[in-house]
Symmetry: D2
Subunit: 254 residues, 4 copies
């Protein structure tokens, strides 16, 4: 029987503000990418999200991003100094690890967030800066990345294990990159169409791009979003359809 991981970005509140329905999502996914306080999350939100993951037997991933609370880490910051970014990443990862430990559990993997993830996936320079920063402080934590990207290559060079993910609700271009959100058709809103794509990918190893080509992919995890109005329904539909097709939802961790 086949199995696959389902991951989502959770713990994205701050102070009194909430983002999405973490409780509902935790009962659907097998891995939670938890914000670390720089683009979202704060220590108490992180602590509660870790507890919630633990109670649902969901794997905990650190989800560090740019120091950009107002912009939710979605503002590109190519001018940030490399040593500042490296320290910011280490700081965030260590912070979540300490909170996980205080709750009797551990961080299992790392996934970069937002504009930082985009930059590090698509440029070798920033992939190198990020992977070197991570390997310095967490030399055995796997990275969850887009398949076939610069992060994957740099991780392999430095001996960090990687797992790759497929975005269930996002269209891809012919180079295997996500279509930018502002392009038509970039975001797939129909849960059944998203589920169809995932099932076809798991059965055939192939996904159709927005421009009509076919891409080969072999992901370890399916990413579903937690912050859309219909996020819970989307995630639940994908999980139900996968399980009905005999695919087990199971965390990927080593």
């Amino acid at each position: 029987m086949k199995s696959i991981d389902l991951n989502a970005d959770l713990g994205e509140g701050f102070g009194v503000w909430r983002m999405g329905d973490d409780e509902a999502m935790m009962s659907i996914v097998s891995s939670a990418n938890i914000a670390c306080g720089f683009h979202a999350g704060d220590p108490l939100v992180m602590s509660r999200t870790v507890e919630l993951a633990l109670s649902h037997n969901v794997a905990i991933g650190a989800h560090p991003g740019y120091d950009d609370l107002r912009g939710f880490g979605r503002t590109p910051q190519p001018w940030v100094a490399p040593n500042q970014l490296a320290a910011d990443l280490q700081y965030q990862i260590g912070a979540l690890r300490a909170i996980a430990r205080a709750n009797g559990t551990k961080v299992r993997y790392i996934k970069l967030h937002g504009a930082l993830a985009n930059l590090a996936s698509t440029t070798d320079l920033w992939a190198k800066i990020c992977v070197e920063a991570i390997v310095g402080t967490a030399p055995s934590l796997p990275l969850l990345v887009m398949g076939d990207c610069h992060m994957e290559q740099q991780a392999q060079r430095l001996g960090l294990p990687t797992f790759s993910e497929f975005y269930a609700d996002r269209a891809y271009d012919n180079e295997g990159q996500l279509l930018p959100r502002n392009q038509q058709g970039a975001v797939i809103l129909d849960p059944n169409i998203a589920a169809d794509r995932v099932l076809r990918l798991l059965e055939t190893g192939v996904v159709s791009t927005a421009h009509g080509a076919e891409l080969q992919m072999k992901p370890h995890s399916i990413c579903v979003h937690g912050d859309h109005p219909t996020a819970v329904q989307m995630a639940q539909t994908i999980r139900d359809r996968l399980e009905k097709a005999g695919v087990k939802i199971e965390k990927f961790a080593l």
Copy 2:
């Protein structure tokens, strides 16, 4: 030959702003209490301060405080929720540990900062909250505390080792508490008077209070401040006088 530790609060800059002369102080002290980003410090400042400590063979302590950048952690916050404070402490400690690890070293101890240190030293409730938060994430890191305070008692209860410190340049009251800064004579400005007190304490185990009594103390470390205009001269004088008297300056760590 006797030995004693000298500690100072360092890494208290933020962004482009600096506080005191960390480079000079690192060549004098044996232990550095490094701010963790909530009342001072930021990841890059922390990383540079860790490097500086390492290059001077100075022990690294985590120096967490209230989430209060504008107030430098000196504003009392008795209304903060205990679970928020606990998460804030864990977050800060983990962040510094991760940065220390990335620099090939380790955090050796924890010392609370500012208004939080005052509250936790003098009230059993907050001492308990702080020690429980710390022991949850760092069960073997010693605490550097005022001797004979609630933090020490709670640490003993939970099995955390403690080391105690004496403030070279601050007057004590008859209960062994620091005289508040706004009272006359609270801060000792003459380096030689401060050095005299330290030497007498090391030789006799006794210090005179501001109100004429004699206190018994047996500190493991002498705290000198790094942020006064005359801080470097004060610290250097104390170190010189101690060494001339045959006392070796040596970190206290386990």
Copy 3:
């Protein structure tokens, strides 16, 4: 025909985070207390909220609070320095006035938020600090306050006009203070019971306290909350019931 103002705290998002349904509330209330960036709101949120108020012909009030984004301005801060609090108030008020002006409108009144409002209502010292700070920078803007409180007295002393408000969905004690939220019955959840109280107050000038006494009040405005799950329904019910009883909803501004 009688008339009364309906006010609500709006513009309480930050960055990507939202709080309540500002669009729906703006079509119900006649006055909007707009957060100024210290406990909630940011310049862009403020600008959008001002635009929304303008398009609904709703009066704009500045709603400054403590510098406490994580705590939403609900954490008491009695240790903040008076001159810092004064500058913080002036800063926030000026910021909103500038944004209102850029949108072709004006701030019509000031209402303090959260823990600051509580402290300034109930202590003469902080009422004086707040009113003096406000009168220094906005000598003719009226204050919206609890009736018969220290803010009202200090405003009268310094010549600032005041308007008073009644909380539709909160129980009062015999001294005319709000029952703390953590006490049973403090928050009224049934829209019709809240509407009944408002109508009785407008007709008779009397409201029953939680402890069985009767208070005389003559408010200029009814405060409804915008951040509860049932806030819109509560506010709409009160408005509908008032209008059905022949009371016109009308802003109080000079």
Copy 4:
């Protein structure tokens, strides 16, 4: 007798941190560009700086910058949304105006800070966004700008008065732009060489560029920096040399 304005960036502390010697600089300059809390400054620092300016009869300018406390407003942010930047500018300007008013004085002009000033000087798009934001909330406040730049052109288009400045201690390229700080010779450290350039410019209207050309300029103000170790000496030397040559130091304000 000729006269010229001397301006410097002041009030660049934050919380307990200080930057430069504001007290000394206030006795030398005639105009102070005061940080507004987004890249430096906080309400209390702003209030104290306004008081200091007032006591030295120095003109107060608003010095808004990017929302970038950690980077001191020196990080380019070309991805910030135009409506967010516009609101940020209005917010900062209004905040300082309110604090000035509370101190019985007024903001006399606006000068952009750091990376924002660079971007707005050199690109028409951002100059337009900034000038439109400013004119919306402060339609009669003059701008202090680099001569012959996009900010000047956009200000003229929208009817905002401008004054231009010359950087005493920075080398220019042949296009009249400042040589980037990381290029050799970009920063002039010798106070007498800087004073010579200023005097020659005032006498002949000409300044030599770093690449050997001669530029025509007719500035209304000379900018001296307040944050270098030798800033006070530099500023004092320029003032002394100017006065000895019969040039009066006088604010430019309308």
